[in-house]
Symmetry: C2
Subunit: 165 residues, 2 copies
C-alpha cells in the first residue's frame, strides 16, 4: 500500500509518501507545501487544498496518516494550525482514504524506539529506514515518520488478524 | 446580493442567508449544521463540508462572511474550532466567493450599535432587522449577525465608492 503521511501547518505542510509491503518500506516522494504568508487566510487554505489534491491525484495513496496535534501555548498558533489541519484531514478523507491519527509519542516510539526521542533522532532514523530518500526539510521528515508509523500499525494489525486505525 | 453568514464549530456550525440591496435587508434562510460527536474527526469534517456544499449549491450566495475568532482559553477547544473553521473558510472560498472576516466587536457594533452588546441583544436585534425570520438557534443568530455586518460594510464601501472586505 501507498501511505501518505502529513504534517499540517498553515505556513508549511510536510508530506511524505512511502510504499509499504508488511514491514518492508520504501520511499516514494516527500516535500513541503508552502502558502503565501501575504495572502488572505481563505486563499491560503484553498492553495493548500489544491496542492494536496494534486498530490493525491498524482500518487493515488491508499491510506493517510496525521500526527495528533501538539497544542501550542499560543492560542493564535493553535487556531492557525487547527485551520490548516482541518483542511488536510478533510482533503484526505474526501479522497476516500481512511486517515490514521497517531500521538507524537507513538510516532517517536515507532520510528526510533523511544517515546521521548528528539527531532534530530527522528529525522536520522527516517533517513535510515528509507534509504535514498532526499528529505526536503523537518516537516517532510515528520510526515514520513507518521507514514512509517501507520505502516507499522497496519502490519501489526494484520499480524493480529484485524485492522486498526 | 445574497450573503452567507457562517458561525463555524465542529459540533454545530450556524449559517444564515440574507438578501441585501444596499442597506435594505431581508431574510432568506438560516439553520445549524450538526456533526455526529461519535464519528471520527475526518468524517465529521467531510460531513460539514458536504452540508456547506449543498447549501451553497441550493442558494448560490454571492458573498460570505465569518466572525473573526474568539480564542478559547482551552487549547483543545481552540484546535477543534480551528479545524472546523478551516473547512468552512475553504468551502466558501473554493466556491469562488470572497470571504469577509469581521471582529466580534464590529459585528456587535454593526448589529446593535455598541461593541459590547450581549448575545441576547444581538439575537433580538437580528430578529428585528430580519422580520419574519424564524431563527434556528444561537449559532444561526450569530451567523445572521455576521451576514448583516457584511451587508452594512459593503453598503458603506459602495457609498464611499470602493469595495472593502
Amino acid at each position: 500500500m501507498i501511505i501518505l503521511g502529513l504534517d499540517p501547518g498553515l505556513g508549511t505542510t510536510g508530506w511524505g509518501l512511502i510504499f509499504a509491503d508488511g514491514n518492508r518500506l520504501s520511499h516514494i516522494a516527500n516535500g513541503q507545501i508552502r502558502t503565501e504568508t501575504a495572502a488572505a487566510l481563505p486563499e491560503r487554505l484553498v492553495a493548500l487544498d489544491a496542492a494536496l489534491t494534486d498530490l493525491i491525484l498524482e500518487h493515488r495513496p491508499t491510506g493517510a496518516a496525521v500526527e495528533e496535534v501538539f497544542v501550542n501555548a499560543n492560542p493564535q498558533s493553535t487556531l492557525k494550525l487547527g485551520q490548516a489541519r482541518g483542511v488536510v484531514l478533510l482533503n484526505a478523507a474526501r479522497s476516500g482514504m481512511q486517515v490514521g491519527e497517531y500521538a507524537a509519542r507513538l510516532v517517536k516510539k515507532s520510528v526510533v524506539g523511544v517515546g521521548n526521542a528528539s527531532k534530530d533522532q527522528v529525522h536520522a532514523m527516517v533517513a535510515r529506514l528509507l534509504p535514498g530518500a532526499k528529505i526536503s526539510g523537518p516537516d517532510a521528515a515528520d510526515a514520513l515518520a507518521v507514514a512509517i508509523t501507520h505502516a507499522h500499525m497496519q502490519a501489526s494489525a494484520k499480524a493480529l488478524g484485524r485492522v486498526r486505525f
